[in-house]
Subunit: 361 residues, 2 copies
Amino acid sequence: MKEPSDLSILVKNSGEWLKGTGPESDIVISSRIRLARNLAGFPFIKKCSEDDRRKIERQVRTRLEAMSAWKDIQYVHVDTLSEVDRQFLVERQLISREIAEAEGSRAVAIDPGEQYSVMVNEEDHLRIQVMHSGLDLDSAWDQIDRIDDTVEGELLYAFHPKFGYLTACPTNVGTGLRVSVMLHLPGLVITQQIDKVFRSMQRINVTVRGLYGEGSQYTGDFYQVSNQVTLGHTERELLTMVGDEVVPRIIDYERKARDFLMEKGEQDLLDDVSRALGILSTARKISSEETMHYLSKVRLGVNLGLIDDVEVATINKLFIHTQPAHLQKLRGRMLTTSDRHVERANYLHQHLRNGGPADVN
Amino acid sequence: MKEPSDLSILVKNSGEWLKGTGPESDIVISSRIRLARNLAGFPFIKKCSEDDRRKIERQVRTRLEAMSAWKDIQYVHVDTLSEVDRQFLVERQLISREIAEAEGSRAVAIDPGEQYSVMVNEEDHLRIQVMHSGLDLDSAWDQIDRIDDTVEGELLYAFHPKFGYLTACPTNVGTGLRVSVMLHLPGLVITQQIDKVFRSMQRINVTVRGLYGEGSQYTGDFYQVSNQVTLGHTERELLTMVGDEVVPRIIDYERKARDFLMEKGEQDLLDDVSRALGILSTARKISSEETMHYLSKVRLGVNLGLIDDVEVATINKLFIHTQPAHLQKLRGRMLTTSDRHVERANYLHQHLRNGGPADVN
């Protein structure tokens, strides 16, 4: 395991899950599974003293360090990071906003391909996360189950024979499992069916969030669908509900909406996605919100074959790399909001243009 | 003199006055002079029978035909043209809307470079027009004066020793002269000074119109400044008033507005003009109004050095060639409004793009 002093190794890369190659990847960005785990012999984080937190962090680090399979893992001390570095890891979906904004000893172990990470001292002592491209919950489950077993071989988890894994929040008790699928649903947004679709989901126990979790806006037409509770369900039941029942239905609605748009107004849609690409390629200052809005249209255009020459992987990456902390890490210095608008436009310009339209100074 | 059966020779060309090379051509599109003349021995057009109109047209045509210097002139019978052909000549600034919409025998003689034309049976029996690129009234005057002399050598004009040339409308009696300068004033529009500037002009006898004359909108930030009356003034006085007094003042205001915009917000301006070019290059359907709006921004961008690689001549031409009748002539068939929106976008796409941004189907 490595303990880098900065995040430079992560800055220029992007996660495997962004490559846009998994099943249904025209609509499903990623499949994410996380397990909440706590160590026996310590109180839950909210009740921990800083001394407890330090002990937990040290114990976890020492045990993970011993695992030879984890020799390439980057172990990052979140409490020593600057605000922009923490924000960077949030944007990258490698840590939660909660751990970024928390206090005291805390850390994250990240695999080089960014498929999995383990947060230490988040709401629970351990939060293990696996993220795969497209709709791919089964292989994500296989991977996280193996990781969980390995970690459990080194650490004693708090487990109750009747309730299962004990967690800080009651909604996680049992399996400690959260299954989340990130969907890109511009068709349902354009046809104004998105609210109706999600209202119909409320009866089955799923929650819908934005790109950056609880309370975040549905920017870029991204919707993250997750199970609401876990107690009383097996892992398999939860995976089946989200991955085989809910998500395929939403995918089906989204495909019908896209078909409808293509049949009723292909020229309007072509104009819309083409202008979006034009604006992203030529803007000289642009906000994050506007960027997400137009990238969403371009992504739809690429997926419907209306736009050539732009890879879905490029678009997926741009959604993440044009976020504020990413721009600052890429540029290597702090930037004001208005500097970021210029820097973001430059970054988009470099990644979306092949020489023209007629060049601008 | 040639009497073509259609306008095909004009369709692919564009007027000399659009080349954007004359003095002050960053702001002044064109300098136009027209002379109103009537033949002795005929009533004014409004009082003419169709038989009179035919006689006037025949007499003018026969005399112009005899002039060896006019052997390349295209003589077009406006009354035999389709509506779209008449609209085409209006868009090209070669005939007035009045003659396009009139009835009965009427014609226009057009020089191949489109610097001058002579309308027959407009509001007056003859309307001679000369149009030069940029602010160039003196050479336009020299040319129209020579043409007028040549024509007067062949035809007997209605002339009163005290009042001068007699014309249908009293505002033209005397010299029959109208001096018009077409200005592109985006700086004054963006800084919201345009109304103030033109209010201050009302005290001096000038009229302000849009690109297509009386009653037309100020689309594309074009403003046509002309003398209001001619009676009681010599040609030289009118040329001096418009060309040496009024227009240079407006040019000065416009330059100050542009300087202000560059100093106070170059990045905003760069973003604005760059996006305008992006939209024009990538739209897949676009209205004439939207086109003029964005072309105006691009023209400003080119003139301020914010945009490379696009010639002012190209922009000037696009203002005219994206008009409805032009699109239909270029395409060789009638087009519905929505077909024109698509055709206009294709035309812009072809003329503004050098390969990218990432290509769109």
